[in-house]
Symmetry: D2
């Protein structure tokens, strides 16, 4: 009996958060006897000023099959469109060379559309991880457009599965795997001790911090369709955090059109206000990052980490603004607007309450394994129609 | 009381059929006191070998605000992705300059995704004309992906409206206008006499034809996801048509990845078989074209004209293959596979039957007017969420 | 003693004539013990309608390391710039992957600038074959701009060497190798019998021809900076050739901005004039082509083949217009303007005279070998300065 | 008598230094009765982190005809090639829309090749300002390649004129105008008082400075073909300047492939060494900048300002490394390597010597006027040949 050729699974990573979100699945694909992993690293995942994810991947034992430089500099919205256009030009060549049996695209960042389109137009089955969720801003459009280009849907929650099916996708092509980001959280939860010194290990810039008496973590991304306001939003959070006087680890925002607005606010605040309780970091290894989050007194910002991983980890979260609107959330999340007062009040409530119990809302820790199995077993088709 | 600034409506035309499909709406927008038309001509609509639509637009009294050359040559599928990527790069600049209040994109050709993405990423409301339909091949993915990027949906049929709403779009953003291509058909139907000599007026190449005793029209596009077969498919139709011995006007296919396959078949057939009843045309003015169709004994191929306009015009149609699968159709359509025998048999049935009664399935002739009114009155938003 | 790693020599071929011009060098590189050939095929060399050179390369035993689709469709001059821009984007990725020790670029077509720039900016030494010549039109600018980007110059004639040095290049970096296109001519000259039937082997379209009593060959490219006139120029030649009544093999022009002007003239002439002595061909294997040329009574047009190979082969040539202005030429060439009368008169003179003696002006048949040796032995640098 | 249409002169500015270098010519073009200025701003001239030149242009009364975003992010050399490729794609569209009678490109930055190629391929005469000079690195190749694409050469010095002519350009197309950057210097020299407080007006980050007792200025760009070393080079200069203990204004480097290497060095030095005598600036208005330079005790780095403007202003200059190799220079320049010791010693010599007399080596202050006159009077051709 002749052995079937391994399926070549091409996964395209375009940003720092996408990597930690898919890492356990990459491991499971790499380990699966019927799958061959083709890892493509693109966009801000290649750039130094967003934390150079490519190097971490190498350290984690992944080989990179192709690199795609595609981020156009510019503070205007046109740069988002052009970055995606460049990605489309380049990814077409990459897929032409790698000849994958399926292309995996993750979540909903704007440049992921380039991955989905290039694969769909070249008749390569598109696998979408984390479709069917609901949020604010341009991500909402991108996510569902990718769903309509995708042939296989591996979603995080039952709710997400229902939505994808209601959008007209064939129910046999939609599977709940949980979110692989929870897999890492589950690993960390087995022994969540903060076993490293963040400042010694990662440096960062700003105030020296003593983390012994508890600390905050902030991750606040600009909301792209409210470009002009990005600077003001972040300023409010900076003030609230400074006023709290708690030691704070603040992570730089990622590469969106408004990132320079947010980054500008941070730079100006540092120069003018010289805050004595805030230190700024670019990036950490996902394990370290989750351990840091687990041990913080409160996560503040609008990162999906607050909604997903923190549900599982039971970390108190202050979710600012509209970026995560529509996402299912656990009891650990308090939603507030952009004003500093609201942030301060929510912080007081959380500090009074402490940790929350673990909630398996976004996964139980075995998503990566399930994704690899689906990729090995599901039929890979490229023809589909609305089911109604 | 200060008068409201006119809404700038940017319509992007990327191919010959899109123009005739939207022309009555362009006129209505141009005539509307609260609207300003910004016409962008792109992709194969600019190319000589696809019939140079741009010149017709000028003749029809439309001013072109920007031209976007984006068609990459190449017989491979990667060219489709790259053409779209180039379009994205260029359209971002165009929208940056024109600053439209809304961008209108038509139907489902692969390069229309560039229009929808560029506008969506630049926070310009996207209006999609002719969403909610169901067909085969890559068009199906493109059409619904555009729906998920669009903010206002102007659809042709009640059935299409239902589908768009079921996909999770806000019902207040989905309106049945009918298909504007039917508007031209309705105009022509008032006096459908064949009032010009197609050969004298348009030339064409191939056999001289005597149209007096009745004639056939053929429009057969390559089906992109079955690239390799394009040549064979067209060859079968060429044989069937030759065998019919009826005078035949054959239109060249448009600019898809496989177009050279289909075009190659035609060239080879001409050289080797020297058919005495077939003449090949590049393009005609839409009015002339509809008049020609109205007076033919049968339309053969896989063009959507057979499904839409011919329903209204009551013209017998032989629809070949899977390209129009899933589209609602009237009694005038006989569906067949790619074999010459099936085509010949269907032709015999149609010739025995003659014309069909007019069917308003895709519109009643006032779609253009309704589209312009919606563009003037509907709120133009860029934020949306799944409704479930 | 450790063996030195082979030098990786990346040769980029962008068009049909460049391939026959470099083929003997490709063979010599492939055979050289210290060199490794990386063959990149790009632009019109990949396109069916320009004769699909890629397939011939495979038949000739060359492996293709990368393919670069970059030709933008469009009858306007902007398409030339955009094609080059696309090539630059893609070739940067190609060189990043192949990591060549040197990149070889050939002659002076507009898209060759993309090769030279991509390599120069990525600190890869650029080797220019066939610099230092003088012609009309945009090629003149391109050729010398490539010289200024190149680090090693392998030229065809002593005159060319002098010119490159006078432009300020280091004399030790400029070497006369002869033109490798002459190598093929030298091979053919050993037994130049027309040992195949061109129509039986290559088909072509148009009149049947009887070659027994002698025949003409025509190759006329559009002159890009006189875009509007391309059609008229070719028309004149078509008339002259028809009037000669001699059997004529006419080769389609290559992919320049005006190619559709020239191609349009040919198509229109065929339809309207139905010439009974002209047959049109896309391409032939270089060996067959040279054999065909050797045995013709006169070569007409503006191809550099008439200047180079025909000097060596002793074939009478009528060189039309300004395209080859400034190139050194042998006694076998008569220069004329675009008018049909001048062409007819020159033809009469050549037919009266017959063959010319072989002239080693552009090479002695060992250029390929010399190029490979230089590539193996010369120092590969990327730093240079004007010598004055 | 019918008045001649004004010549449309399109000037493309791609970086901060190019603007101050051409500003007086822009004014003269704007004021000339027979010229119309079309100003295109592109590449890093549009980016915030390189000092947002576009805003200064508006403040200076220039209207911007088109903006071209083209800078690709990435620390690798491929980004230079891709940025140029993108520029070529976009500038072709820009020139197609603006229909200039001539395009002016300045000096030798890598992305200026995009300007020259786009114009040359579209048959627009190319005017090159500041050709014929000799320096190190990739600029050398770019500058002379632009010369070979250009039709009119407006050079700074007699020496440069000789070189351009020796490269084979028609002597009637090469004119010495002087360098327009000297025009601004000449204006400032009429009253060179430091009439503003740099810190109050421009902010900057780093140490507070007291400029009363004299100060240094540093501008050190990474040398692109020595990418890996960029960080170390800048570190040496930082140490030398810190050790001098003199108040120092340090300008951020511009957008080359290695800019992040240099920027990284600066950021690390600030964090770790917290120098008390250095303050970092992004940019200043050209007038302020020249005034600042005039009054400094020494300019350190590798900027061409040190070679050109400082000759005229008589400012002591320490020129580091190979970047300005081959440029003619005055007695005010001391050349050193990258080591801190050499820099310190040269500084001691300059501080002991003081100012130098003004030297008209690169212009007499009327270059802008001369450039405008040449643009109005010279024939605008696109055909040229090597003169030998």
């Amino acid at each position: 009996m002749r052995k079937r050729r391994k399926r070549r699974i091409c996964v395209v990573i375009t940003a720092r958060p996408s990597y930690s979100r898919i890492k356990s699945a990459l491991r499971a694909i790499q380990a699966h006897p019927e799958l061959e992993l083709q890892l493509v690293v693109a966009a801000s995942a290649l750039l130094d000023r967003y934390g150079m994810v490519a190097r971490q991947m190498a350290d984690d034992g992944f080989e990179i099959a192709a690199r795609v430089y595609m981020v156009l500099e510019g503070e205007n919205l046109a740069a988002m469109a052009k970055t995606t256009g460049l990605g489309l030009l380049e990814l077409a060549t990459v897929f032409d060379n790698l000849k994958p049996d399926a292309v995996v695209t993750i979540a909903d960042r704007y440049e992921t559309l380039a991955t989905a389109i290039a694969a769909a137009y070249m008749n390569v089955p598109v696998v979408h991880v984390q479709g069917g969720e609901v949020t604010g801003s341009i991500d909402e459009k991108v996510r569902h457009a990718v769903t309509k280009l995708a042939d296989l849907h591996l979603v995080a929650t039952e709710r997400a599965r229902e939505r994808v099916i209601r959008m007209g996708e064939d129910p046999t092509s939609v599977h709940v795997t949980g979110c692989p980001s929870i897999d890492l959280a589950a690993e960390v939860l087995r022994d969540p001790t903060l076993n490293f010194d963040p400042i010694a290990k990662y440096g960062g810039v700003g105030a020296p911090l003593d983390l012994a008496r508890g600390y905050l973590v902030v991750m606040q991304h600009p909301v792209t369709t409210e470009y002009e306001l990005a600077r003001r939003h972040v300023w409010e959070t900076l003030c609230a955090v400074r006023d709290s006087a708690l030691p704070t680890l603040w992570f730089w925002p990622n590469a969106d059109a408004g990132s320079d607005g947010a980054s500008g606010a941070i730079r100006a605040f540092r120069e003018n206000e010289r805050p004595r309780n805030i230190r700024f970091f670019k990036n950490m290894a996902p394990d370290d990052f989750l351990r840091l989050i687990y041990n913080c007194r409160c996560l503040i910002g609008n990162s999906s980490v607050g909604i997903r991983e923190c549900a599982y980890l039971g970390v108190p979260v202050i979710n600012i603004g509209s970026r995560q609107d529509g996402r299912e959330r656990g009891r650990n999340v308090l939603d507030v607007g952009y004003g500093r007062r609201a942030i301060i009040e929510a912080l007081a409530r959380h500090l009074g309450n402490g940790r929350y119990p673990s909630d398996p809302l976004y996964g139980d820790g075995r998503a990566g394994q399930r994704i690899a199995e689906r990729l090995a077993q599901e039929p890979l088709r490229i023809e589909k129609r609305l089911t109604y």
